[in-house]
Symmetry: D2
């Protein structure tokens, strides 16, 4: 692997277990507000994972693109970062 | 069940599959920006589920609490809604 | 006034001053990341104000609507709360 | 100016006017949900401005830092971007 994703994969496995736990809360008709709070906890965990991924991306692909020879590739990579930043504000 | 959570459970199963797909993307060292976009898609799906849950909650527990006799219970239920609204702004 | 909005109006005046400060940062070509951080601070202040407003709304209009005679009005008021909750997740 | 911030300053002036409009809505005790919707509109406008600023930053300071000689400066600039991305998820 170019990136060491071990930590993020572990975090996603925890998120997956969390999602199954929320399914059981729904099946057992638990209190809706408690379920919403659990969904918010999952969202916070996903935010952390996407920030880790961006950090890895900036320190590898972005560096390569900027130090590389291809101006179109550089433009593309910079534009993508603005796009995910803008989407991050909206989800 | 007091609430019909069938639809939300189905949505969560889809989210769970989506999370496993993202794990595979990491294992296969796919492009980080594409992985972040998938995480954003999962977060949008979770937002929809929490909005559905709040809708069900308002039309059942909240109604009961407000039409009930217990002022403390009413205060508690209203306060919880403000709290999840405030957290929704932050995740 | 039905609601006491004194506190929220004061908070909005502070936000307004903050926005003017950010304009000056731009005019003086200050460091972009510092400006983005100030925008994030404004957004956190706005989140607090919208949570305060929702709290006041739940304890007045929502209570009246639910305790009132008009089922359509009740449905409308509950639906609006779900809508602003869903939008809160997205801005 | 290193950056052309004309467009963003204009956007911030519009936001400032919007904030004053929201103050008047509060002074006139207008419907809380409508006020919350206006706050959400301001948040969306601020998201757009911070995305514009990040875009400018990536195409100037970040490029200079990465193409420059100083590895600490490069690390610092990359870290800041991850930080504002992570905060963007939370406000």
């Amino acid at each position: 692997m170019e990136h060491d994703h071990h930590d993020n994969i572990q975090r996603l496995k925890i998120v997956e277990g969390h999602i199954r736990g929320i399914q059981r809360m729904l099946e057992n008709d638990q209190y809706c507000i408690d379920i919403i709070r659990q969904i918010h906890a999952v969202q916070a965990a996903l935010n952390k994972i996407s920030a880790n991924l961006l950090d890895g991306h900036l320190n590898s692909c972005l560096l390569s693109a900027i130090q590389g020879e291809d101006p179109l590739e550089r433009t593309r990579v910079l534009k993508e970062i603005t796009e995910v930043f803008e989407t991050a504000n909206k989800v």
